[in-house]
């Protein structure tokens, strides 16, 4: 299994090309999670707290969007960002930013739906206390998000896992350009298509290790935070 060894060697020797791929994968997926959180958490919290006609339908649709096929998201973002599309003048297609946009679209519904569930449960518990303390709507949202922060970390991790694992969206909008938009998953797809299955497997194992490491980091932070804040 020469490819297997070489993938491992590439990691151990800190091969700059591989490190660049790993770095881009992390930058794209983490940026997407940050942006998706900025959109999804307030949206999910608002949906948890505000009653309006059609709210149940919005929740059903939002939950369904958690399972958006990456390739469909990729295609939609591709059509929007293409020079012939409505946002073509931004010149973002086949850049890392396009990949961040696509993954943000993919991840935001996951974070919003999980936030909605978390905040709604916490709201049931806090409603009387916060009402009795005369806390206004903005204060309520802020309090609930802050007190749910450890549960919300789980939502962010779910989003990150989804982003880090997907290939369908970023390969369409990023183009898998060597040294520019090639990530772990698109590299794996490429090596598979070149028939270098051992290298593809090696890269896959590297990806799994990275995802586990990020999760372990977040889990440790969550435990430490919970111990301090209860």
């Amino acid at each position: 299994m020469p490819g297997d060894v070489s993938a491992l060697q590439l990691v151990l020797t800190g091969d700059p090309a591989l490190l660049a791929i790993v770095r881009l994968s992390l930058i794209v997926s983490l940026s997407a999670v940050v942006l998706a959180a900025l959109i999804g958490i307030p949206f999910g919290a608002a949906l948890a707290l505000i009653q309006f006609p059609g709210r149940q339908a919005v929740i059903v649709v939002l939950n369904a969007l958690m399972g958006l096929p990456p390739v469909v998201v990729g295609l939609a973002v591709f059509l929007a960002l293409s020079r012939a599309g409505p946002l073509g003048s931004w010149g973002l297609l086949f850049t890392p930013k396009a990949m961040i946009i696509a993954q943000t679209v993919l991840v935001a519904p996951i974070i919003a739906a999980l936030t909605r569930q978390t905040i709604e449960d916490l709201w049931l518990e806090y409603r009387d206390e916060l009402t009795a303390m005369n806390v206004g709507p903005v204060g309520r949202v802020a309090t609930l998000i802050w007190d749910a922060r450890f549960s919300l970390v789980t939502a962010l991790l779910a989003g990150f896992g989804r982003a880090a694992a997907e290939v369908g969206a970023i390969i369409i909008v990023g183009g898998n350009i060597d040294g520019f938009t090639r990530t772990m998953t698109t590299a794996i797809a490429l090596e598979t298509s070149k028939g270098d299955l051992p290298l593809a497997v090696g890269l896959g194992m590297v990806l799994i290790v990275i995802v586990i490491a990020v999760n372990a980091l977040a889990w440790t932070a969550r435990r430490a935070g919970e111990r301090m804040a209860g």
Binding site: S31, W90, F94, K97, N176, I177, S193, G195
Partner: protein, 275 residues
């Protein structure tokens, strides 16, 4: 240290939109999986960059998709291998001019056991007829790529209307060359592939070359600048520099010098006006 840089990068990428990447000296080339997967670009681009300082970013797609990318204005240069589709692209005004660059050839690969009994033949048309008559498993790219179009053309030459004559033996997978080869290797089927991808492919399994050397298997590559009149964002100077270098003596020699296991993969022929 790393974390801080990562956070910086996230912040930068999240805050700025558009400008940072667009300004650098680079072009985007839509090309085919065969040129990319064979390693040809890995061989050519560093030389070109050393000479001109221009960064060439390659999006490897099937020829059909690559031409569509050019039509949308999402690439500066097309480097593909489907002459008829390229000429249509030109006639529609999406391209400026087509330059022949090089050719390689297709080969028909299949299982060592050769159930179709065609091994060693130089007649690709006879081989295709045998596959159809015996109903031997055949993997088709089915993705409108240059290789797929070449395959469809060979069926036509063999007098077979594959759209109506295909049976369960004819499997369209709608994926790239590598995926088609992986599928053929896994299911002991025949598949038409370009030689470059075949030579660099690492999961051959029981597959061997069955038919090669037929002139009808030659595969001409052309390069075109996307028409700046249609898409003003096209970087015409850098793009034209790349094209000029490919067809120059230096570029042609670089193509001829690219070898895998001592075997030359692409044959430069920019000087052949009919190619």
């Amino acid at each position: 240290m790393f974390t801080r840089r990562l956070l910086m990068a996230i912040a930068v990428s999240a805050v700025f939109a558009g400008s940072a990447f667009a300004q650098d000296k680079s072009i985007l080339v839509a090309s085919t999986t065969s040129t990319q997967d064979s390693g040809l670009f890995g061989h050519l681009l560093p030389m070109f960059k050393a000479k001109t300082g221009i960064d060439v970013k390659v999006v490897a797609q099937g020829t059909g998709q690559a031409i569509d990318t050019g039509r949308r204005g999402d690439a500066d240069v097309l480097f593909v291998h489907a002459k008829a589709a390229e000429e249509k692209f030109l006639s529609e005004g999406f391209g400026v001019k087509r330059y022949p660059v090089m050719y390689n050839d297709f080969v028909l690969v299949g299982p060592k056991s050769d159930p179709a009994g065609i091994k060693g033949s130089k007649d690709i048309v006879a081989a295709f007829k045998a596959l159809k008559e015996k109903g031997i498993d055949f993997i088709s790219r089915g993705d409108k790529s240059g290789t797929h179009q070449a395959e469809l053309n060979l069926w036509k030459v063999a007098g077979i209307d594959i759209a109506t004559d295909k049976g369960p033996w004819y499997k369209e997978i709608g994926q790239g060359m590598g995926a088609a080869l992986n599928t053929a290797a896994a299911s002991n089927a025949y598949v038409l592939t370009d030689r470059a991808t075949w030579l660099s492919f690492k999961n051959k399994g029981d597959l061997v070359i069955e038919v090669e050397g037929d002139k009808r298997l030659f595969n001409q590559y052309g390069v075109m600048l996307v028409n700046p009149a249609k898409h003003p964002n096209v970087k015409k100077e850098f793009g034209q520099q790349f094209i000029d270098w490919l067809v120059s003596t230096e570029g042609q020699k670089a193509i001829a010098d690219f070898k895998i296991n001592g075997e030359q993969l692409f044959y430069p022929n920019a000087s052949d006006p009919g190619a």
